[in-house]
Every structure is written in structure tokens, then in C-alpha cells.
């Protein structure tokens, strides 16, 4: 029997039961659409995290103190004090692949202006921090190395702080705010950066020279972290190695000693985040995949019902000359038509759903070609796989008994 005849016979059989064929198809349609929409959401969020990270400066390197053994006791990283200005200077001087470096000494505090106050984070940094973090001054100026040297009582405000301390919209530049009873003169404001991918408000910040925080507020010589920036994204691995080497030297670590600091590049962070969102994608895909399998089982179920219901038809077809293989192919082609048509509709629906999600909810979505191809192939295979057993059952019927079936 020719392929055209097969398809024609299968189509006619499906036409006789349009509603049932459609309902069976619905399982596949929803399965495929779910796979495509879910993967699109997953990929979209991955992409948006990545683009946010590169906006943060993807050649950025973060140096943090890490846990270390002190007299046999392991001490938590953040409380361990190991990074000092010596490290910063050494990196500045010796690291060839590092273009900028800035210590960070931060504290929490209540910023006060007039009758208004706002709890925020005060970050003591070097002027180079603005380059490293891609921060821009909107209004006024940034502080200078001279301000650092004198531990000047000046600061640059983030948008959130401004909104809370200067709600009337007046320019904060030139005003004096107080933080933990220390007066700081506002010399500039930052261009808003919005939320980070971690949901952190990047504008809820006051920047001031690190010496100001260290000497006037915390009275410490240690930094919470050091930020550096590699000459380019490609050299961040070399820069990491250099920094590690320099810090081991300044920390006087013997060969074999564990590092008492950790150097992180954004690359690693990007990887970590992508793997997190990859996991998300995998999870979403798995859930969607399950619905596809359920759709397949729906096909199998209906095909079995259809074989039983059409036993006489099968008997008749056999009596007029259909071979077992003709019957097998007929039912298989029916199953494939259902799954492939369902697949096509599902692809259209999935792509539309992704676009609707972007338009209504504002979530970024990326419809990947691979998810279309994959889900389409899976559903075609589902048709073959779940259609095969009922079809085989049909082809093995005895024509005599099938003809007498009531």
C-alpha cells in the first residue's frame, strides 16, 4: 500500500471522529506548548542574568577573605580579617593584568537629613571603584585620591537614598547628611542601576572614601573585600592567578598553606548563575516533558479504544485484502498524524504563549530553535511509540473473530 493511500485512509478514519482526535491531540498540544514556553522562560531568564552581569562589569574580580585555620579552629570567612591596604597596594603595583583596584570597607548605618532618616549601606571605596563597578556620577562630582588621603567627610548618594532623604526633589549636592552622627557632605549622585539579578537594590548605597569609613566609623585597618578589574574579560584568569600569587606573598603563606582569601571573577559567577538557571530550565523542561508523556499515554489510550471499537472495521479491511502490516501502518499513521499535527499546533501555541508572557508579565523569553526541534521530535516519537502497541494489537486480530465482534 502506498504512503499516500495510508495517509488518506488514516485521515478519513480520523475525520470520522473529529472531536476525539482533537481531544487526543490536545494532550500533545499542551505538552509541546508547555515545553517550548517553559524553555523560553528559562532561557530568557538566563540571558537576562547574563546581560545584567556584563553590565556590572564582566571583567570584575572580587577578593574576599575566606575561612582559615587559627589555632586549629576554622573561622568563618566574613569575620576573618586578612585584607588590608598592603594587599591593595601590592596588587596595584605588581599585577600586570589588573587595570584598577579598590578596597571596600562597608558598614550599615542610619542616614539622616533634616527630619528624615533612612537605613542604608555605607561603602568606603577608592575612586577607582567607580570604574570597576561601572558606576557613573549623575550630578556633582566623585571623590578623589586626595579625599581618600584626608579621610574627607564627603559622599556620593545612590538614587534610593536620595528618594528617601530628599523626597521633595531638591538637589542633594552640597547638602550635609549625617551617618552614625558623622556629617558627610554630598558631592555627587549616582546614575541609578536598578535591581541586581539577586534582587538587591543597587541604588540603596552611599559611597565615601574608604579611609573615612575605616578611620572615622569602624576604626579598623581591614577591608571586607577588594574589587579589581582585569585589563579585559579574556585576561581575568591571568589576573586571578597574579592576585592569588601576590596575596599569598603579602599574607606570608607557606607553600602548602590554604589561601586565607578567595578570588572570584564574574566569569565564575556567570557560570554559577547560568548553571542555576540551567537547572531551572531543566526542571521546567522536565515538568513539561512529563505532560508530553501524559499526552502520549492519552494517544495510546485512545488508540486502544479505537482499535477495540473498530474491530469489525479491521476484520472487514482484512477480509477485503488488508495485510496485518497494512492495518498496523494505518493505526500507526493515525497516531503519528495526531501527534505531529498536535506538535505543530503546540509549537505555534508555545511560541505565542512565550510572546504573550513577555508582553503581559514582562518576563524575558527566548524561544530556542532547539526546543522547538526537540519537542517536535519527541512528540513524533511519542506518536510512534505509543501508537505502535495498539496498532500491533490491531494487526494481530484474527479476521474471522474480528468480523464477528459485537
Amino acid at each position: 500500500m502506498s504512503a499516500i493511500n495510508l495517509v488518506r485512509i488514516a485521515l478519513r478514519a480520523l475525520q470520522r471522529n473529529k472531536l476525539r482526535a482533537f481531544l487526543t491531540m490536545l494532550g500533545i498540544i499542551i505538552g509541546v506548548a508547555a515545553v517550548i514556553a517553559m524553555v523560553a522562560i528559562g532561557e530568557g531568564s538566563k540571558e537576562s542574568i547574563q546581560s545584567q552581569l556584563s553590565a556590572m562589569g564582566s571583567n570584575m574580580i572580587t577578593i574576599l577573605p575566606s575561612s582559615n585555620v587559627s589555632g586549629g579552629v576554622r573561622i568563618e570567612g566574613a569575620s576573618f580579617q586578612s585584607l588590608t591596604i598592603v594587599d591593595v597596594k601590592a596588587i596595584q603595583k605588581n599585577a600586570e593584568h589588573v587595570s584598577a583596584v579598590s578596597p571596600v570597607s562597608s558598614t550599615k548605618g542610619q542616614a539622616i537629613y533634616g527630619a528624615l532618616n533612612w537605613p542604608t549601606s555605607l561603602q568606603g571605596v577608592a575612586p577607582s571603584y567607580f570604574d570597576i563597578r561601572k558606576l557613573e556620577v549623575a550630578d556633582g562630582v566623585s571623590f578623589t585620591d586626595a579625599d581618600v588621603a584626608t579621610a574627607a567627610k564627603v559622599c556620593v548618594l545612590g538614587k534610593t537614598v536620595i528618594n528617601n532623604l530628599f523626597p521633595s526633589g531638591e538637589s542633594p549636592v552640597g547638602k550635609v547628611i549625617r551617618l552614625n552622627s558623622i556629617p558627610l557632605q554630598v558631592i555627587g549622585t549616582l546614575v541609578p542601576k536598578g535591581q541586581s539579578s539577586f534582587g538587591q537594590d543597587q541604588d540603596d548605597i552611599i559611597l565615601t572614601p574608604y579611609t573615612t569609613v575605616q578611620k572615622r566609623i569602624l576604626a579598623t585597618i581591614y577591608f571586607q573585600s577588594i574589587y579589581a578589574s582585569a585589563v579585559s574579560e579574556g585576561t581575568s584568569a591571568q589576573a586571578t592567578d597574579e592576585i592569588t600569587e601576590i596575596l599569598r606573598e603579602t599574607h606570608r603563606l607557606r607553600p602548602g598553606d590554604e589561601n586565607n582569601f578567595q578570588v572570584r571573577t564574574m566569569e565564575e559567577l556567570i557560570k554559577t548563575l547560568s548553571s542555576t538557571s540551567s537547572l531551572l530550565t531543566v526542571l521546567l523542561t522536565a515538568i513539561a516533558g512529563i505532560s508530553l508523556v501524559i499526552g502520549g499515554i492519552g494517544i495510546m489510550n485512545i488508540m486502544y479504544v479505537s482499535v477495540t471499537e473498530r474491530t469489525r472495521e479491521i476484520g472487514l479491511r482484512m477480509s477485503v485484502g488488508a495485510r496485518g502490516v497494512d492495518i498496523l501502518l494505518q493505526f500507526l499513521v493515525e497516531a503519528i498524524i495526531i501527534s505531529v499535527t498536535g506538535g505543530i499546533i503546540g509549537v505555534i501555541l508555545g511560541v505565542t504563549t512565550a510572546q504573550v508572557i513577555t508582553l503581559t508579565l514582562g518576563w524575558p523569553t527566548i524561544v530556542s530553535e532547539s526546543s522547538i526541534v526537540l519537542s517536535f521530535m519527541v512528540c513524533a516519537l511519542t506518536g510512534v511509540f505509543f501508537g505502535y502497541y495498539p496498532a500491533q494489537a490491531a494487526s494481530r486480530l484474527d479476521p474471522i473473530e474480528a468480523l464477528r465482534y459485537e
Binding site: R312, V320, G321, I400, L403
Partner: protein, 248 residues
């Protein structure tokens, strides 16, 4: 009219039901020549159905030879049997067995779908001709539910004819029909027989057997009588002799 279409030589068919062996046919022999109109008669349990299944190549004998148009059926595989059914036999069933929600034309086309050498237009031509032969040319697009019992059976006969088989095998083809319609069907059968079709008609109604030119009587799996009917009753005349019905 001398070539043998069917040759049955000592056909035996046994079924194993659990521990018992049921001997449905205990050595049946007869020949059917081209152009004959044979009725096979017998009460239920006589082996009629078993014989019909064998004649229709739906089943194979346990012992003995069955030659259909010179081909020994006993040696054929399932697929070869299917091909044989497609090319040499036209079935007419008691319950018509038409595909529901499918037009008369498509129902008649059905056997041709299993003949790969035919194109779509040839298929349609043949089906239309077959329907014309059973005088249903004006009902091509009607589905079975839109046709009367007699019309449905005529569609079934057209389906049996469409492959130009060597034999039409009818299984109680008038069993579901009233007398008048039965006579119409028999009249059609007689016309087809006159055109040279070999017909084997299984029935238990002696009334129907009278329209054929030979009757093979089965009892307990054996042929008990094989008589040539000297004065064949004309179905057309029988039809005319019926009192006129209101619905015609």
C-alpha cells in the same frame, strides 16, 4: 464454463477447544465451476460457517486441499492469503459491514486501497462503475445511515464486485432483509451471475436456495446432498408476484 474456480478435496477442519477436538468439517469435497451460482445450505452447527471461512481464505484447512482459481491455499502465508482475498474474492456479509460515516463511494473504494497498482482516478472510476452495476449511481455520496438496508447491501455487493473477483462469497446476505428486499438482492445476484460471475451463497433459507442453480447441503461437517437445480426460480418474477407494498 468448464474451468474449476473452487476445488475442495477432502477438506477437514478441526478446532482444539481445551482438551477436546471439535471436528467442524469431516472431509468435504466438491468443485465449483466458473459461472455457477451455488448455495451452501445447512442448519447451524453443520459446519457452514467454517466452510465459508475456508472458502473466503480467512482460514486454512487442517487437512485436505483447497484450490482457489488453481492456487493451493494451504501453502500460503497470512499475507498471501490477504492478497488472494483482495484479488479473487468479493465478500458480502449479513450485516453489510460498511464503514459508518463514510460515503458509499469510499466504502466501495475500500478494497482498491489495498491494491497498490491502482491510481486514485482508476480507483474512483472502478468504484463508480461498481455502484452503477448495483443501480446506486445516484447515491455515491450517501453514508450508510442515509441508505436503506437493501441499499446498504447493494453497496456491499458493489464493494465485493469492485476488484473483479473470480467469486462472490455471500454470507447470509439476505438474512437481515425483508422478503421483498431479499428478492431484489437475489435478482441482482442472478443478473451478476448471468454476466458470468461465480457466486457462492451461504444461507439457511430454502426459499433463497431456489434462486441458485446448484445447492450443496451440509450436515455435521459433511456434504449430504449436492443437487443441480433444474428449474431456477427467477428472482425478478418472484418480486413481481409479491403483492404491491405501500412503501414502494
Amino acid at each position: 464454463m468448464n474451468s474449476k474456480i473452487l476445488e475442495l478435496q477432502q477438506i477437514k477442519r478441526e478446532f482444539i477447544m481445551g482438551t477436546e477436538t471439535v471436528r467442524a468439517l469431516k472431509g468435504v469435497s466438491f468443485d465449483v465451476h466458473a459461472g455457477e451460482f451455488v448455495t451452501i445450505m445447512g442448519s447451524s452447527g453443520s459446519g457452514k460457517t467454517t466452510l465459508l471461512n475456508l472458502l473466503g481464505c480467512l482460514d486454512k484447512p487442517t487437512a485436505g486441499n483447497y484450490l482457489l482459481d488453481g492456487v493451493d491455499v494451504g501453502n500460503l502465508s497470512r499475507n498471501e492469503l490477504a492478497r488472494l482475498r483482495n484479488r479473487k474474492i468479493g465478500f458480502v456479509f449479513q450485516a453489510y459491514n460498511l464503514l459508518p460515516r463514510t460515503s458509499a463511494l469510499e466504502n466501495v473504494e475500500l478494497p482498491l486501497f489495498y491494491n497498490p497498482s491502482l491510481s486514485a482516478s482508476e480507483r474512483k472510476d472502478k468504484a463508480v462503475k461498481a455502484l452503477e452495476a448495483v443501480k446506486l449511481a445516484d447515491r455515491l455520496d450517501h453514508t450508510p445511515s442515509q441508505l436503506s438496508g437493501g441499499q446498504q447491501q447493494r453497496v456491499a455487493i458493489a464493494r465485493a464486485l469492485v476488484n473483479q473477483p473470480v467469486m462472490i462469497l455471500a454470507d447470509e446476505a439476505t438474512g437481515n432483509l425483508d422478503t421483498r428486499t431479499s428478492y431484489e438482492i437475489m435478482s441482482l445476484m442472478q443478473d451478476l451471475n448471468k454476466e458470468g460471475k461465480t457466486i457462492v451463497f451461504v444461507t439457511h433459507e430454502p426459499d433463497i436456495a431456489a434462486f441458485s442453480n446448484r445447492t450443496v447441503m451440509l450436515r455435521d461437517g459433511k456434504v449430504v446432498k449436492d443437487t443441480v437445480n433444474e428449474n431456477v426460480r427467477s428472482a425478478k418474477e418472484a418480486l413481481e408476484s409479491l403483492p404491491p407494498a405501500d412503501d414502494y
